[in-house]
Symmetry: C2
Subunit: 135 residues, 2 copies
């Protein structure tokens, strides 16, 4: 049975449930940042997914990336499956800007997450749900 890793649950707010992935919004106001988690138990690596699930995953990544880019006006999308700390397979899809705090470096480990103010979080969440959910 699939259960979202507690660290991912603690660091994010839920956005949508797609055919394969739970779509989460990272609670870090420094970067509009989605996390896609395939709802499959005991998977740590992309190559442990079935080929059928991988075909869905890459389309869900592309859909998340395009929607995030259009919603935010990002200059670049960064996509990554790392998992050195949280072993459950999860894919980062991050909107990057030439003026963001880590540019041009990757975002991880540059500084601690800065949680959104409540209204900022509600606004972004609503815009992303509308764009990504087809509502």
């Amino acid at each position: 049975m699939f259960v979202l890793h507690p660290r991912l649950a603690a660091d994010t707010v839920p956005l949508l449930v797609w055919p394969l992935c739970h779509v989460l919004l990272m609670n870090d106001s420094a970067y509009p940042w989605l996390i896609l988690v395939p709802a499959r138990p005991d998977i740590g690596e992309l190559h442990q997914l079935s080929a059928g699930d991988r075909a869905v995953l890459i389309e869900e990544i592309a859909r998340a990336a395009e929607g995030l880019a259009e919603t935010t006006g990002a200059h670049k999308i960064n996509t990554a499956a790392l998992g050195n700390v949280v072993p459950q397979l999860h894919v980062h899809v991050i909107a990057r800007f030439r003026h963001d705090p880590a540019w041009p470096r990757p975002v991880w480990g540059v500084h601690p997450a800065v949680p959104y103010a409540e209204s900022g979080l509600a606004d972004l969440r609503s815009r992303l749900r509308r764009r990504l959910g087809g509502e």
Copy 2:
């Protein structure tokens, strides 16, 4: 027409040409590190590829990841498409070890690349070509 970005050409040695991607070996002895570059001109983001190319790409990523893991005994594979510095779409597939210099952080920006000694490079290249090329 597709031309490999000069920065990618300078930092790597060629391994194989797959149906979609050029498979390159990063010349950094700190981590066994592949780079997959879809041979398509003027593509910077995953979502700019066609859906058909994306389906091939995710399978080539999985094949690279599994082969790299088996060849090296890696504890974890890190996969990422960043592109903040080199705009041509390229996917990092990196073998990580709990004793490597950046663990558990991502590898980028931790320290400059340490090129392989000639014999070490030839040996790894030959093992990876055999495993990934089906030779």
